[in-house]
């Protein structure tokens, strides 16, 4: 899976949790949770969905590395590339 595909997956899962978001309105380098108003439960559900779609494990200790949309895509790309 390449980066644009990972990005599309991330956005699709984000939209399942926050259907009202518009991709064009998302600032990819700004904090994701604040922009999309994801509470802890939304965030966990988002990560569980990514885990199930992409078969990657995301330790809780790594949550801080998924601060923005760009960081999330980069993190997942590294994880998938390393496999």
């Amino acid at each position: 899976m390449n980066k644009p595909e990972i990005r599309a997956t991330v956005l699709a899962e984000l939209k399942r949790i926050a259907p009202e978001i518009e991709e064009s309105e998302l600032a990819p380098a700004s904090p994701l949770r604040e922009q999309v108003d994801l509470d802890s439960m939304d965030w966990l559900n988002f990560l569980v969905a990514l885990h199930e779609r992409l078969k990657v494990d995301i330790p809780e200790a790594d949550y801080a590395r998924l601060g923005t949309l760009d960081q999330t895509v980069d993190y997942l790309a590294r994880k998938l590339g390393a496999r």
Partner: protein, 345 residues
């Protein structure tokens, strides 16, 4: 004969609109089965039945809006024979017209002599009703919240207490626990808050239950109403049942499912009517202390603010008709104490 009536699905509900029957005449139902979907001002709710029986007649039709307490269906209890319905009085012309228009005359209330169904009754029934204007869900929900909260502030003499609870141990335990759990099994601090509150309720039963007709009725179990904000605005606080008996994993699983269904608009009637205490967690937005409004007929609400510097402010809104500040303080202390031993929750 069992009369299945539209239940009250919360203090703020006066009427509901039947969206769909999940059963038909002749079906056997068991206690706890979902038999209908009813739209309240807050959400579409799966309504359960609380007796076993066989459906004999569906009285309410989908699309009808009816007050709480209206008979929606009649059922035969186990061993009861079918009741032969009295044949409807109807003029031959009306019967013919009803057949042409596809109107079920048995369901019509006749306005003629001795309740006979007239031609006019049939035609009136057949006339298509004007399409109802689209419901403004957000406005309806705001009205429902306004009604419940106004009643609360009018009737319940609230008192408020707060306590800063150290969370160092709970945070360390949660981190270690989550490190060994697969992603879908991980816990949120919210699950610990719910369980600690429910456990404390078993020590302080006067915080858990309903105040009705001038008296307090303790809850049979600790059914914690979880305040869930909806993305489109407004909130619901459906019950997570018997939290005192659940493990943290079960609480977390129940919470995840409840939030998902609340946001998808798929709650069950018992979840709407059963909460015996509410827990609200407003720390996500950085709030330090919650000063909650009790959801009647409940008698207490526990609030949690943001987890900062290894601590959280837990607050209690208590009903002074049922408990006093001293007991409230001990109750908050019990919640705090239980959060110091997360492994025992």
């Amino acid at each position: 004969m069992i009369e299945f009536k539209l239940p009250s699905l919360g203090a703020d509900m006066e009427e509901g609109k039947l969206l769909e029957w999940k059963v038909k005449p002749g079906d056997t139902v068991k206690r706890g089965d979902v038999v209908a979907v009813v739209d309240t001002s807050k959400a579409a709710v799966d309504v359960e039945i609380w007796q076993d029986g066989v459906v004999q007649e569906l009285v309410t039709q989908p699309g009808e809006t009816i007050p709480v307490g209206t008979v929606m269906a009649r059922l035969l209890s186990a061993g009861e024979g079918p009741v032969k319905a009295e044949r409807k009085k109807i003029s031959p012309a009306a019967r013919k017209r009803a057949a042409e228009l596809g109107v079920d005359v048995e369901k019509l209330a006749g306005t003629g002599p001795e309740g006979a169904v007239t031609l006019e009754d049939v035609e009136k029934q057949a006339k298509p009703t004007a399409a109802a204007p689209a419901v403004d869900r957000a406005a309806e929900m705001r009205k429902a919240i306004a009604a419940a909260m106004s009643r609360s502030k009018r009737e319940i003499p609230h008192y408020y207490l707060s306590e800063t609870v150290p969370l160092g141990r709970a945070l360390a335990w949660l981190e270690a626990e989550n490190a060994r759990r697969a992603l879908p099994e991980r816990l949120l601090m919210a699950a610990l808050f719910l369980k600690a509150t429910a456990a404390a309720c078993t020590e302080f039963p006067e915080m858990n239950g309903h105040y009705r007709e001038g008296a307090f009725h303790p809850g049979a179990g600790v059914h914690v109403g979880v305040a869930i904000s909806l993305r489109q605005g407004g909130l619901v606080a459906p019950a997570l049942h018997d939290v005192q008996d659940k493990s943290l994993s079960e609480v977390m699983k129940g919470l995840t499912d409840l939030v998902k269904r609340a946001r998808a608009g798929s709650l069950r009637s018992s979840e709407m009517s059963d909460p015996s205490i509410t827990v609200t967690n407003l720390g996500e937005g950085g709030v330090e202390t919650v000063f909650g409004v009790i959801y009647p007929p409940q008698v207490a609400l526990v609030g949690f603010g943001a987890v900062k510097q290894n601590a959280v402010v837990a607050s209690l809104s208590g009903d002074h008709r049922v408990s006093d500040g001293h007991r409230g303080a001990l109750f908050l202390g019990a919640i705090a104490r239980r959060l110091q031993e997360p492994e025992k929750l």
